[in-house]
């Protein structure tokens, strides 16, 4: 690479020129920042301003660009210089928009701006130009595991977009659950009648699609590699095997029905006339094939009365059965009730529910079933007793608040869905540790768990995608649907969260889009969500590594393996660039080209810390770039003012915060340090899943260090911030600033 040449640009637009003494900022960039080129511009993001920077890069050999203008989150399209290292000084959202335009405030506002100029110069000098991950894979084929509605839809959607697909199905035919349905709930206006299950059409389209290669009776025996260059070994039941090179993976392994045998109180197994929803679909198919009405299994007589029991073994608070709602079963029971009413309106058809949940257009379908005379009663079933060729359904009527009973020829239990996900990784790791002693029982347990594995990933962190809740392979169903904690592996359909066919179709389409994005980014050496397009990647100075394994263990995405010598082995393409490894490293040997212990450390050191008599404290804010920093920017946009003594540095994740930054800041005379990260725990909002949690855990250790330094523990403030805390965040900053002022200046000032 060419010699380093630095340049700083100060913008005077958006009132910056009026509010700040930009000449003084230029001087600081030149004298203190030691930038080779320093320029002011009236309107830096204009075509003219951008051309000026572009010219310096192209013709003046500038390699490092520091832009003092608006937030790094603004004008990213104008300031898009991918061939240089770039830092941004946030003078607009971070300074003039959060300070009043008054004579008294002018001095401290200017000092704030000057510090941000010092920081951006220091940061860019510590950076290198991100070169992009060189170990890319350019395979664009997408592997879809599971040949049900979700898998078939994902395959077809990817193919339509021009990508080759390998579709692996464990059974002998495509179709999954949907193929077992007599009919499916309506998908189009007027949402009144059950429709053909649609499987034959999908299968025909797959068969006719030259882009899609189908393996039936097949499983994934092993998956190795990384995004853009996965190798999937496919084991076929006949004994044959195949290896496919794929760029990304969609896991659409669907669900199984909750085992109704666990519900003997509801009569399952005690009477053949108690069936689950799949049992009823089979009866309906059989009846339709024979051209007869649906008959009860015990004596083959046509059913005259049927009771549907909703939430059978679902939404269970006792912890014995499924705790969640499976989402599709109410609509399914409505559909099955219409099987009866459509064949004979005189069949007594009762649905016993506690809350009827009809997603999509199910409400219209519900009404149409009521119109056909299906009776919906709000009640909780306590017991189903076989009674000759009928059953007695005992239930509590929740509206009339009384115990009552109904007689029925057939009882249908809506038992809900259990995801067909792989083993739970932590339980598997525990089992493996237990089996290390060589015990037979323990070893058998590991084998049984591995038998459930879907992907058999050759990852240090385990063979499958981590579970989110209740065994579903999700990562966060509100913030990042489809994303799992394994880069370029996406979960789609009911294995991700409970859903019906319509939702699964949509879900599969979304997952196909993500899988395409992943192979394209992997091919270019770029990161996937949430830092999509980021060219930087982590490297480790191995001569300094102590092989403590913190990075390999803490990486939320399973990106780091260990090599034969037990050093960390980065799989850059699996990396999401959160920097959790960098924050974890006790000897600080891990860094990114444009984000490292030095780039942040240099900023911390660049800030001018006034002496203890100035009454101008300094508070360092390390803010998560995903939630807290945008919230601060938006606070600026809304002109919510905050204290002029804070200096904000965005971090990729709280997980990337290395404790050295905190101790350096406090040693350097800062009076307080605020950490702003996302919510962690069960309802986490961290974009890197575990990052904020790990960051907080590490920070808890820093408090001991503070005590060792004879500092008040309040000098470090750890705060949970959501992106919506726009109005409340400035008040919290101000409150902390008051607290810091009350504590008095740090004793480390001027040392």
């Amino acid at each position: 690479m060419a010699e380093t040449k630095t340049a700083a640009y100060i913008c005077k637009g958006c009132e910056l020129g009026n509010r700040l003494d930009t000449a003084a900022l230029v001087k600081i960039a030149t004298k203190e920042g030691k930038m080779a080129v320093v320029r002011e511009h009236d309107f830096l993001c204009s075509a003219d301003g951008v051309a000026m920077i572009r010219n310096d890069i192209d013709n003046e050999g500038v390699t490092h660009v520091a832009i003092g203008a608006c937030s790094r989150r603004a004008k990213t399209e104008a300031f898009n210089f991918t061939t240089v290292a770039m830092s941004r000084g946030n003078l607009r959202e971070g300074v003039i928009w959060v300070r009043p335009d008054t004579d008294e405030a002018r001095e401290t506002t200017q000092e704030m701006a000057e510090d941000y100029v010092r920081m951006m110069c220091a940061e860019v000098k510590a950076m290198q130009v991100p070169a992009g991950n060189q170990k890319t894979g350019t395979i664009k084929t997408i592997l879809v595991v599971g040949g049900g509605i979700s898998g078939m839809t994902a395959a077809l959607e990817a193919s339509k977009a021009g990508y080759k697909v390998v579709l692996v199905e464990k059974t002998g035919a495509l179709g999954g659950w949907a193929a077992k349905l007599y009919k499916r709930v309506p998908t189009r206006e007027p949402f009144k009648s059950a429709e053909d299950n649609g499987v034959a059409d999908l299968v025909a389209r797959i068969d006719a699609d030259a882009n899609i290669k189908v393996y039936l009776n097949a499983r994934i025996a092993k998956t190795s590699g990384a995004p853009g260059r996965f190798k999937a070994e496919i084991a076929i039941e006949s004994g044959a095997s195949a290896t496919e090179d794929v760029g990304s993976i969609i896991q659409a392994t669907g669900f199984s029905l909750y085992d109704a045998n666990k519900l003997p109180n509801l009569g399952y197994g005690k009477s053949p006339n108690v069936v689950d929803q799949a049992g009823l679909e089979a009866l309906a198919k059989e009846a339709a094939a024979a051209g007869k009405p649906i008959c009860r299994p015990s004596d083959g007589q046509p059913v005259k009365s049927v009771v549907f029991v909703q939430c059978a073994g679902q939404r269970d608070a006792s912890g014995e059965h499924l705790q969640y709602c499976s989402g599709y079963c109410c609509n399914t029971s409505i559909k099955q009730a219409t099987y009866f009413k459509d064949s004979n309106p005189d069949i007594d058809t009762v649905v016993l529910f506690t809350d009827l949940r009809t997603p999509g257009n199910g409400e219209d379908f519900y009404r149409s079933a009521q119109n056909r005379g299906v009776i919906f009663s709000k009640g909780v079933v306590s017991e189903v007793l076989p009674n000759g060729n009928a059953c007695t359904v005992k239930f509590k009527d929740l509206i009339l608040n009384e115990d009552t009973a109904a007689e029925a020829d057939l009882v249908v239990l809506a038992t809900g869905a259990v995801p067909n996900s792989g083993p739970e990784l932590e339980a598997l790791a525990d089992a493996k540790r237990a089996a290390e002693g060589g015990g037979e029982e323990e070893t058998a347990k590991v084998v049984a768990m591995m038998d459930k594995s879907v992907l058999n990933l050759d990852y240090r962190q385990g063979p499958d995608i981590p579970h989110f809740k209740h065994g579903f392979n999700d990562s966060h169903f509100i913030c990042f649907p489809y994303e799992t904690r394994r880069t370029a592996i996406y979960a789609a359909g009911p294995v991700r969260r409970p859903m019906d066919i319509a939702q699964a179709t949509e879900d599969a389409t979304g997952a196909a889009m993500k899988a395409i994005q992943a192979v394209e980014n992997a091919g270019l050496g770029k990161a996937a969500h949430p830092r999509a397009g980021d060219l930087s990647f982590p490297t480790a100075r191995l001569e300094g590594c102590t092989q403590c394994k913190r990075c390999t263990v803490e990486c939320p995405f399973g990106a780091i393996d260990e090599d034969e010598k037990r050093f960390p082995l980065f799989n850059e393409s699996r990396c999401r660039r959160c920097g959790t490894c960098m924050g974890a490293c006790p000897v600080r040997v891990i860094s990114f080209e444009n984000y490292s212990v030095n780039t942040v450390g240099a900023q911390i050191k660049a800030v001018d810390v006034p002496d203890e008599f100035s009454e101008k404290p300094r508070i360092l804010v390390l803010a998560c770039e995903n939630d807290a920093y945008p919230a601060l920017d938006m606070a600026g946009l809304n002109r919510h003012e905050y204290d002029p003594f804070v200096r904000v540095i965005p971090v990729r994740c709280l997980g990337s915060v290395n404790t050295i930054w905190i101790t350096d800041a406090l040693n350097g005379g800062y009076d307080g340090v605020m950490l702003m990260g996302c919510k962690h725990g069960e309802e986490y909002q961290c974009h890197f899943v575990k990052g904020s949690e790990l960051g907080r855990y590490r920070m808890s250790k820093v408090y001991d260090t503070l005590k060792g330094m004879n500092l008040e523990t309040e000098r470090l403030m750890d705060m949970e911030v959501a992106i919506t805390d726009i109005a409340t965040l400035p008040a919290k900053i101000n409150a902390y600033a008051e607290q810091v002022k009350a504590m008095g200046p740090s004793p480390f000032k001027g040392l």
């Binding site: 009776i375 919906f376 009663s377 009527d397 009339l400 009552t404």
Partner: protein, 213 residues
């Protein structure tokens, strides 16, 4: 009357929902209730201790086949026709009308509670209005005041004395109505003919319903 009740009970056997759907006006809406309870929560008489069941329960009881309890319930008679339930029902069930329909049916087959004030008013009002072609206010008031006997009638009359005199002074009440004088409709005979025709049509419609059922 009770014969009619027995007839209906026999005809519909255990299917009370069907009976209501076919016999009570607007009864076909009962099956569309989704048991959200918004009607009960919206009812201004809900906090009144005098009613047996809120509308949500009445609807559920119909589906549960509680014939006797529903038809003899005083709930339908407590309705003030404020239409809150009708307006708020997310299923657009005309709850007010359904309640009236059930009340009318219960009365028709002789199951409605006896000495229910609303029912008494309805009956008195109807008889009064159809007899005179328009409401004879003095006679209507008298009938209501004296429904529990002469003593309580006089007492109520004395209580309302000032109001009555005020109405007379303002020309809103004609004491001569007590004698069958006062304002009248122009064509009493015509009205009676009209009502007779309506009765005939209604009977014919019900008859057709019966032949269908």
């Amino acid at each position: 009357m009770s014969d009619l009740n027995q007839q209906m009970a026999d005809r519909y056997k255990n299917n009370f929902l069907k009976e209501i759907e076919e016999q009570a006006e607007m009864g076909e809406w009962v099956k569309m209730c989704m048991q959200c309870g918004l009607c009960s929560g919206s009812c201004p008489t809900n906090f009144h201790p005098g009613w047996d069941h809120p509308p949500q329960e009445i609807f559920m009881m119909i589906r549960a086949g509680k014939r006797e309890e529903v038809l003899s319930s005083n709930s339908m008679w407590q309705c003030t026709s404020c239409y809150n339930c009708y307006v708020r029902c997310p299923r657009k069930v005309p709850v007010t009308h359904v309640m009236h329909g059930i009340a009318e049916y219960a009365y028709r087959i002789g199951k409605a509670p006896k000495a229910q004030p609303t029912q008494h008013l309805s009956k008195t009002f109807w008889d009064n209005a159809t007899k005179y072609g328009r409401v004879n206010e003095v006679k209507l008031t008298q009938a209501l005041y004296f429904k529990d006997g002469i003593g309580s009638g006089i007492k109520k009359g004395m209580e309302m004395q000032d109001v009555a005199l005020g109405l007379v002074k303002a020309g809103r009440l004609n004491p001569l109505e007590a004698l069958g004088l006062g304002h009248k409709c122009k064509d009493l005979n015509g009205i009676h003919k009209m009502l007779a025709k309506a009765n005939e049509l209604e009977a014919k419609r019900k008859g057709r319903d019966q032949s269908k059922a």
